[in-house]
Amino acid sequence: MLRRVVSMISDFVIPEFIFREFFLWLLVQSEMKAGSFELGGEYVSFRVEDQLKLEGEGDVRQTDLRKGVPSISQEARSSLRNGKLPTRMRVRLVTGGDEYIFVMDTKLMELRGVKMPVVPLSEAELKMEQRIFHLSQIYRMLELLFNQFASLRLDAEKWGAQVKEINQWLLEEPS
C-alpha cells in the first residue's frame, strides 16, 4: 500500500483548486448545517473560527479575516463572490466529546496550532499514546470529510446541485 502511494505520487497531482473547493464546501456546509456533519455513522461538529484566508487565482489578491466567525462575515461572502476561495482556515472540530482546534491550509494540508484535549496522565508512555490517538482522530475526520466531498465532486449531477447551493448561500445576506 505504502509503496503504491509513493509511486502514485509521481504519477498524479491533484490540483490545489480541488482543496480550495473542498475548503469552500466545508465552510458553506458547516454554516448551513450549524457545523453538524455525519461521518461514518457519528455526528461531528466542524466550525470555522477566528481565521479565514481567501485567495484569488493568478495575481496576489488575498483576504485575511481574523477573530470571531469570519465565515459568516460580509467580507467573506464578498471575497467569495469576487472569485476568491479559502486557502487557510482555523477549525474547531468536536467528535465523541473531544474538542480539537487547528489551522489547515490547501497548499500542504499540514496542521498548525493543533490544540487537543488535555491528557490527564503523568506517565509519558500513556500520554504519548493518547496524543497520537488524538492526532490520528483529526486526520481520520479530515479523511472522512474529504471522502464525502470527493464523492460529490466526482458526480456531475450531485456536484452541480452543490455548486447551485453554494452560490445561493453566497447571495444571502449574512445573519
Partner: protein, 201 residues
C-alpha cells in the same frame, strides 16, 4: 512546547520500510547514538545538529526507555546555531586595523582577516538551541514531525536519512487524497477535474 504538551505544528510522512525499527531496540538506539548531538560551545562552528534524549534536551546519552514509548518511537533532534553580528564583526575588524597591529591592505588579506576574526568570535558566541521532535507511530508507519519550519523539517529528514538509511515520504495533498480515496480511478478523475465556478452569479 513539545509533543507531550501544548499545541503542535504537524507535518506527516510515510515510513516506507520500517524493518529497522521492528528489529532489536538497542540497534535503533545505537544508530541514533552514531549521530548524537555534540556541543559546539567554545568551538568555531556555526551550526550543529544531532539526536538528544526527548526528555533531556541537554543529554545526548540516549536510552531505549526514552526512545521507545510503547508502539511509538520518540525522537528529538537538537539544532544549535551560533551567529556573529555583522556590526560586531565590522567593529572588531576596524579596531584591529586601527590598532596598527597589521598592515593589511589587499582585498584577499582583508578577507582573510575578517574570516579569522569571525572564527575567533564564533568560539566566544553562545549557541541558540532548538529542539525538533518527531514521533513514529509504528503500527501506522507514520512519522509526525512537530515543526512548521521547512528548514527544520529538512534538517530532521536529512539526519533521519543518515541515521536509518530511510527517507520518509511527505504526505502532501495528493498523498492525502490517495490515502482517503484509495482508488486510482477516483484520483485520476480528481486530477483531471475542471475548476468549478462559484463567482459567476
Amino acid at each position: 512546547m513539545g509533543f507531550l504538551k501544548g499545541s503542535l505544528g504537524i507535518k506527516r510522512y510515510f515510513i516506507e520500510n520500517q524493518d529497522v525499527f521492528s528489529k532489536n531496540r538497542d540497534t535503533v538506539v545505537e544508530k541514533l547514538l552514531r549521530y548524537q548531538f555534540r556541543s559546539i560551545e567554545s568551538a568555531a562552528v556555526e551550526e550543529a545538529v544531532g539526536w538528544v534524549s526527548p526528555f533531556r534536551s541537554y543529554d545526548p546519552a540516549l536510552k531505549v526507555e526514552d526512545t521507545f514509548l510503547d508502539s511509538n518511537l520518540f525522537l528529538a533532534m537538537r539544532i544549535d546555531k551560533k551567529t556573529v553580528s555583522r556590526l560586531l564583526l565590522e567593529s572588531k575588524v576596524h579596531q584591529f586595523l586601527d590598532s596598527g597591529s597589521s598592515l593589511t591592505t589587499g582585498k584577499q588579506e582583508l578577507k582573510k582577516l575578517k574570516e579569522d576574526i569571525h572564527q575567533e568570535l564564533l568560539t566566544k558566541a553562545l549557541p541558540e538551541p532548538r529542539i525538533i521532535e518527531g514521533v513514529i507511530d509504528l503500527p501506522h508507519s507514520t512519522l509526525y514531525l512537530n515543526t512548521a519550519s521547512h528548514r527544520s523539517s529538512g534538517l530532521f529528514l536529512s539526519l533521519f536519512e543518515k541515521t536509518f538509511d530511510i527517507l520518509p515520504v511527505h504526505i502532501d495533498p495528493t498523498a492525502f487524497a490517495y490515502l482517503t480515496l484509495k482508488e486510482d480511478s477516483k484520483l485520476q478523475a480528481l486530477a483531471n477535474a475542471e475548476e468549478s465556478c462559484f463567482h459567476d452569479i
